[in-house]
Symmetry: C2
Subunit: 350 residues, 2 copies
Amino acid sequence: MTLKELAKALGISPTTVSRALNGFPEVSEETRKKVQAAADAYGYRPNMRARSLATGRAMAIGHVIPVSSEHEMMNPVFSDFISGAGEIYAANGYDMLISIVPDAEQERAYKEFRTKGTVDGIIVHAPRAGDRRIHLLNQVGLPFIVHGRASDADESYSWVDMNNLRAFQRATDFLIDLGHRRIALINGLEDMDFAIRRRAGFEASLEHAGITPCPDMMFSREMTEQYGHDTTQTLLALPEPPTAILASSIIPGIGIRRALSEAGLVLGRDVSVIIHDDDLSYLPNGREEPQFTATRASVREAGKRAASMLIDRIESPSPEPRAEMIEAELILGASTGPAPNLSLKTSEIT
Amino acid sequence: MTLKELAKALGISPTTVSRALNGFPEVSEETRKKVQAAADAYGYRPNMRARSLATGRAMAIGHVIPVSSEHEMMNPVFSDFISGAGEIYAANGYDMLISIVPDAEQERAYKEFRTKGTVDGIIVHAPRAGDRRIHLLNQVGLPFIVHGRASDADESYSWVDMNNLRAFQRATDFLIDLGHRRIALINGLEDMDFAIRRRAGFEASLEHAGITPCPDMMFSREMTEQYGHDTTQTLLALPEPPTAILASSIIPGIGIRRALSEAGLVLGRDVSVIIHDDDLSYLPNGREEPQFTATRASVREAGKRAASMLIDRIESPSPEPRAEMIEAELILGASTGPAPNLSLKTSEIT
DNA sequence: CACGCGTTTCAAACCGGTTTGAGATTTTTG
DNA sequence: CAAAAATCTCAAACCGGTTTGAAACGCGTG
């Protein structure tokens, strides 16, 4: 059923049908009702291809997932982010287009997005330090929102980010307050912007407390369970092992827990652990009784915010970029406690 | 830059330009070269909206992710599946459209896909027992592939599935061969087709060995870490706790491991565990030294197969459906060993 | 009754490609 | 060398909507 057929069936012109269905004021209430009823009866749906060709709007938003040749791991955070974003898109009539683009072809991919006209805007995932994509997209002239930031990009752009620096600074402060002095950082890949900021927060807190960050206790790799496990083994073998560990995600956190229990150590007593919790739906840290003490910020919520912001920019374009910072909350779980030597003192007192 | 502008710049007709770029035989090699060079120089890309309006092909494939109101968890398997599928799409010039559709709106969503013309085919995720969607899509007449099967659908359709029954039967056989008699099953939600088949395989193996499946040792819930942990605690508190556990995914497997270590039990000695490993990129079970003994089948590979199959059906339609079964391999890890009483005997011998 | 005004409807152009059917040109053949 | 066949190119129609500019209509007013 096309619009023209519908018009013929009703005995009126396609113009009037189009206007009636799209709520234009110059059509009488009476005919609008008639047209709407007929459209419902025939189950008429406008063909999006034709409509978007005519209007110039694709009613779709693109997500570009960069995949580097060496680390072809899927970002574990991705599925929850798009589930949040997808909810907003659905509510506003947008489709979601996902492109998995090898690093080498990023440039081509973005330019094509523009000329192919398949999307009205783009969400940029996993920005790196000094990401070229932001420059590229500003040139291309397609509205976009970055999930995260690109540390040393001097151009302006819109973004939604979690306050990585602050979250890791607070977590480190908290461990220091508990008496910990030797604290290890199990971070993500440090060419990723978020990892750089997390490390900066960690170091800032240590330095503020007069502790010199020790390079032997800072790690930067793809965030797997194995990585958390093996790194913890390495740490425990040090002459002076750390009394606390800060981990960039719950996934290495699980590996840390495994290594500790293999070594016969008790999590939260012998070694304290704080993780960053993205509140992934398939790996919940626990609502009532969190397993790990954590800095928590829902990545699904970030998806929602980014999506709303992008739709906003598409529907009412404005030159000045917008930004939104999400603060993580510190959640107390069973994985932290006073530093071992202090706890000794406490037990002497009681 | 539109095709018409390009044609004008070259001084030839749009027809010829279109044919030259699309490799039609009725244009001379000489003009083709000239046109191609000019297109490259100007960076011309055909507008997909216009093209697909004219050709009737959207060059896009839709993935419908059902999200039920109660369990709004994102399927952890999803991101790896689409990463596999996305690779195939990119290689064949297709885009990937993702719709997150609440259970209640499935019907509307599929019908709209047809009339809106945004996709050429659909991949159906997470089929339930007797899923209505298959009937619906057969009616709608859009090519589709199901990832999994719908147990009691009497209609024919194309699918790609892992041999869930066989995998779980083999895993159970293996445990029985090791001397285990009391084996627990920590399964996914049993309105999902895959969980039904896994349970069937489990029960078939037990019955074949003359063991009556015990309902107290079979669980069916959303596959979280917490679920694995809590269920294991429950199992250990039984008067006769199981000596082996079969788990539907690595995620509850991690929870099982945690509960065992909390109880002071050694994985693979006191209690044996076999998981099903979807080979998720962000939760690898380990290639050289698998943590868990597992039935392994890459869900990314399933994504690739489903995508190729769908593109095939779109480009050369045929009435008879196709199907592809993926066999899981049994991987030996450190999480299994002889049943405790047997191992006692063995130690007496040595 | 002629006129002006606001309301409602419509034919035609347009979005940017593909495709048909015919015309122009070149090559082959009798 | 003329006729037939093969090769190349093009104008125009089409895909299914939206949008422009004009026409038709109803109504109150001078």
